[in-house]
């Protein structure tokens, strides 16, 4: 019997190559390519009066300079609005190179192509652009005030206003025994993969074909966009995703200006051209996320049960809206988390600012939604002097209520309907893991030593595996080796291993015999992309279904060869054999030979498939409903997303003098259904938690009033090193299989980061007794909050409220 690979912590197949330095990332390719560099706007808002290249053109090694006026046909039109939505009445996208106006620092104005990057940058520096500066709109408050406009023709800087509601929230709030209001803020952060963006293009003049490599999360999306923008037939464009050094959302945006301009230049110059983004460019010319201001009105009863929830929030989407309303829609729907809220209304404004565009970063609007909901839960607990975990438990959707339809529309345009989940089970595991009930003793002991500690928790539900579809192709070669292709891309999630595990199990072959290719449109041209924790669910299911097709075919052909019924056959170690008669076998490679009737032999093995060797003379060599070859293809397209859930708890210590925030323990309970590879899933959780720590305590985009990003480097944008992350991340799993897909899996990629802002706010508030309403929080932020709280208490008689005391006014 072969051991099942699904669920086993297999070591990754991709590692030996990467560990030897043999990875092939974008900038490792194209050693013969010309280099592109970009002239970018130094101003947040301005009109372009004139672009003068005369100083640049005699630089030795310069090949070409392009500005907007050089762009032909569709390339001169604005870049696509990828996800239109009826509420996005004022969607705006940039031009590949700025036309007349710039709307954020970093916007591309001219492309310089030269012999190497050094020369390209020399020339770019000598391109002189004259601007008429316009006053910029920076930050949500300025966007709301709308004293100035980002786009002249967008009144109020309002890209979209959207409301969703269930029940009668006004009536529910009016009738609720208690009420609370909270004003909350989350600042900007960004995906910040260690490898920036990059694109390489080769034009084949003879066959009039374009081959593009790009560091993307969607090769099929780039392919369609490049073909459209360059006016090429789709069939003439191939897009290949090489090794990608992290994505975390930012690389799902496409086409980036560079992704159409570099292929354009490669064709125009008939030379390979490459662009590799540098770090500063990544800060000012890719995408950010997270910034929102929120206002929550909640009504609740004595047990803390929510009777009505009215949420209003303002979302900063930056200068343009290529990714539509996905992020704020996710915030407004996933905000509800594991809780039953019958009367809910949410309205958001999606606002323009003269800053870098906002598109999904791991979590994609969920961290903000969870922040709003979990802050609300804590506020209710505080107001009623109840245990924070108990208030959450009082509001849970119960396992027996699944599937649970909220009555809202999710980001995929489909009902927000939870397929499965055991939220009380998740909470119980978390409380046990962190020792929730023992914490007061720990607090008392710490306090006796003059230390200040706090505990926080946060829960979330994450819609994963959104459609529309993914596909898989499985091919057994005559060598018996199995080649698998799926169209979505990989950025470090170990897809080559996880998908090989699935296919090896389905086909009964050894893991070593399975090779997986992702993100190559030559191998699989139909795909959507890697985002929203969807790869394992979508492509995992698709390759499983494709492998089942191949298995059926293998059993049928082997059955004919072995004169046995396919029902009596099994495949073990790559051999098809009659159950109970281990001597009667045929290798899958031989089955592959037999599957393809030949006229011409090409080696010893293939002789077995030639016309005088096999075939029933009364039947066509390939049956009407059959195809030659031992291969199969299938697609997985679910009617809706599958919903993972989890809960995090953290114990922090805050320094009474310096306000430094130290993490003492970090616990995660996570339910992503059946686990394909627990090692990979835990790695995803670790990475998410680290990004969450960054987002909660360190990372922010510091724009000044002129729209200059002041911390656009790794020196000033503080991503966690090992010294900032907890020394242990304690993880426990629940496995509630999804009923929606053949493997019972749910997505896991984003979970680690989703509740971080909420869980740290909860713990710091618990330690300090000061309401935490804005994240991230630095020691100096906390210091300021303390000072303010002290001022308030000194104005009032009596001591500062103790940590567990009610601080919010109950209306």
């Amino acid at each position: 019997m072969m051991t099942r690979l699904f669920g086993a912590p297999i070591k990754r197949i991709e590692d030996p190559r990467l560990l030897r330095g043999q990875g092939a990332y974008l900038d490792d390719l194209g050693s013969d390519a010309l280099a592109a560099a970009f002239v970018r706007s130094p101003h947040a808002h301005g009109r372009i009066l004139d672009i003068d290249v005369s100083d640049a053109i005699d630089i030795d090694g310069l090949v070409a300079i392009y500005t907007y006026d050089d762009l032909p046909g569709p390339l001169a039109e604005p870049l696509p609005l990828l996800i239109p939505h009826p509420a996005l009445t004022q969607g705006r996208t940039p031009h590949a190179l700025a036309k007349d106006e710039v709307n954020h620092v970093g916007e591309a104005i001219a492309m310089v192509v030269a012999r190497d990057r050094y020369i390209a940058e020399d020339a770019a520096e000598r391109v002189v652009v004259h601007y008429a500066q316009l006053p910029p709109v920076v930050g949500i408050q300025a966007a709301r005030a709308a004293d100035r406009l980002v786009h002249d023709d967008v009144p109020g800087n309002l890209g979209a206003r959207m409301t969703q509601a269930i029940g009668d929230v006004d009536a529910a709030l009016a009738a609720a025994p208690h009420r609370l209001a909270l004003d909350l803020t989350v600042e900007r952060s960004a995906s910040m993969p260690l490898e920036g963006r990059g694109v390489l293009a080769r034009w084949d003049r003879d066959s009039k074909r374009l081959r593009v490599w790009t560091s993307t999360q969607t090769s099929t999306g780039v392919r369609a966009a490049v073909a459209a923008k360059l006016d090429l037939p789709l069939g003439a464009v191939e897009v290949i995703t090489p090794d990608v050094g992290g994505g975390f959302g930012v690389k799902i945006v496409h086409p980036w200006p560079e992704e159409v301009l570099v292929p354009f230049a490669a064709r125009a110059l008939d030379r390979p051209v490459k662009f590799t983004e540098d770090r500063r460019e990544h800060f000012v010319a890719s995408a950010h996320e997270r910034a929102q201001i929120q206002h929550v009105d909640v009504g609740f009863d004595d047990q803390g049960r929510i009777h009505g929830l009215d949420v209003r929030f303002w979302h900063d989407h930056g200068a343009y809206t290529p990714y539509g309303l996905i992020v704020p829609i996710i915030t407004s729907t996933q905000l509800l988390g594991p809780y039953r809220v019958h009367d809910y209304r949410v309205t958001f404004d999606s606002l323009y600012t003269n800053t870098v565009i906002v598109t999904p970063y791991r979590g994609a609007g969920r961290p903000q939604g969870v922040f709003a909901m979990e802050r609300t839960m804590d506020a209710i607990a505080r107001a009623l002097d109840l245990d924070r975990a108990d208030v959450r438990a009082a509001n849970f959707i119960q396992p027996e209520e699944m599937p649970y339809d909220h009555g809202l529309i999710f980001q995929d345009g489909r009902p927000l309907c939870y397929d499965s989940g055991d939220y009380p089970g998740t909470l119980a595991k978390l409380k046990a893991l962190i020792g929730w009930s023992d914490f007061e003793q720990f607090r008392a002991d710490a306090r006796a030593e003059g230390r200040r500690v706090g505990i926080g928790l946060a829960m979330y539900v994450e819609g994963t595996g959104v459609g529309p579809y993914e596909g898989g192709h499985v091919h057994v070669e005559t060598s018996g080796k199995v080649k698998v292709a799926t169209g979505l891309t990989s950025q470090g999630q170990g897809h080559q291993t996880a998908f090989a595990q699935i296919v090896a199990d389905e086909l009964g072959v050894a893991l070593e015999d399975v090779e997986v290719v992702t993100g190559d449109t030559r191998r699989f041209p139909y795909a959507v992309g890697t985002f929203a924790s969807r790869a394992a669910v979508m492509s995992g299911s698709a390759v499983a279904l494709a492998a089942r097709v191949v298995r059926q075919k293998a059993l049928r052909i082997a059955g004919e060869a072995l004169e046995a019924s396919p029902d009596d056959l099994e495949i073990v170690d790559g051999q098809v054999r009659v159950k109970g008669a281990p001597g009667v076998t045929i290798g899958l490679g031989t089955v592959a030979v037999l599957s393809n009737p030949l006229r011409y032999a090409f080696d010893e093995a293939s002789k077995a498939a030639t016309q005088f060797a096999i075939g029933n003379p009364d039947k066509p060599p390939v049956d009407e409903d059959d195809e030659p070859g031992l291969e199969g293809k299938d697609y997985y397209s679910p009617a809706q997303s599958t919903f993972a859930n989890g809960a995090h708890a953290v114990i922090v210590e805050t320094d009474p003098d310096t306000a430094e925030i130290k993490i003492l323990r970090y616990c995660v309970v996570h339910d992503c259904g059946n686990l394909i590879n627990p090692r990979i899933v835990e790695g995803q959780v670790h990475g998410g938690v680290a990004q969450g720590v960054g987002g909660a305590l360190y990372e922010r985009m510091v724009y000044d009033e002129h729209g200059q990003l002041l911390n656009a480097s790794f020196m000033d944008f503080l991503m966690p090193y090992v010294t900032e992350v907890p020394s242990a991340i304690e993880i426990d799993h629940l496995e509630t299989p999804s009923p929606l897909n053949p493997l019972g899996i749910k997505g896991a990629g984003e979970a680690g980061v989703i509740p971080s802002a909420a869980v740290f706010a909860s713990a710091i508030e618990d330690a300090e007794g000061i309401p935490i309403r804005a994240m991230p929080i630095s020691p100096s932020d906390l210091f300021t909050l303390r000072a303010r709280a002290d001022r308030l208490t000194s104005e009032r008689p009596g001591p500062r409220a103790p940590a567990a005391g009610p601080l919010e006014e109950i209306a």
Binding site: R20, G21, R117, P193, L194, H686
Partner: protein, 155 residues
């Protein structure tokens, strides 16, 4: 522009002579002139550590060095870490065993740093293992398994 400069150096045991522009970064020289693309560039301002190579055995950031300044010295890149016959080194093997990499972009810098670190301190405590990698950024792994890999490699 000032004249190119002759350099002779040893990279992963092999001798090279080259003529480099004075401003050529060591990272670009290794990657684009010698084709040793295993050394990665994550920031080009000395903060992420992805470009770390060993210069006469000492970890340095190749994005902060000019190729012209390493004349006569010996450089080890990630491509030079594997054992004879291409078997993974102890540190490389520990990374696979402990799942110490995801996208793999930061990994070469960690591998070179840890290789030198373990040479200087063959049995680090968990605290020292963390210290050893505290100058390198990884956006994928949350460092948990990288620390585990350091300890495993030291076993």
């Amino acid at each position: 522009m000032s004249a190119d400069i002759d350099v002779a150096l040893i990279v992963n045991g092999a001798g090279y002579r080259a003529r480099v522009p004075p401003r050529r970064l060591l990272s670009d020289f290794l990657r684009h002139d010698l084709g040793l693309t295993g050394t990665h560039v994550g920031c080009e301002h000395g903060v992420c550590g992805a470009c770390t190579v060993l210069l006469d055995g000492v970890p340095v950031r190749s994005c902060l060095l000019l190729a012209a300044t390493v004349d006569g010295q010996e450089v080890t890149t990630v491509e030079g870490l594997a054992g004879p016959g291409g078997s993974l080194s102890k540190v490389q093997q520990a990374f696979q065993d402990a799942h110490g990499l995801q996208c793999g972009f930061c990994t070469p810098g960690f591998l070179t740093t840890i290789t030198a670190g373990l040479r200087d301190n063959p049995s680090p405590s968990p605290e020292q293992a963390r210290e050893m990698i505290s100058g390198n950024l990884c956006r994928c792994t949350g460092y948990q398994n990288i620390v585990a890999a350091v300890l495993k490699a030291a076993e």
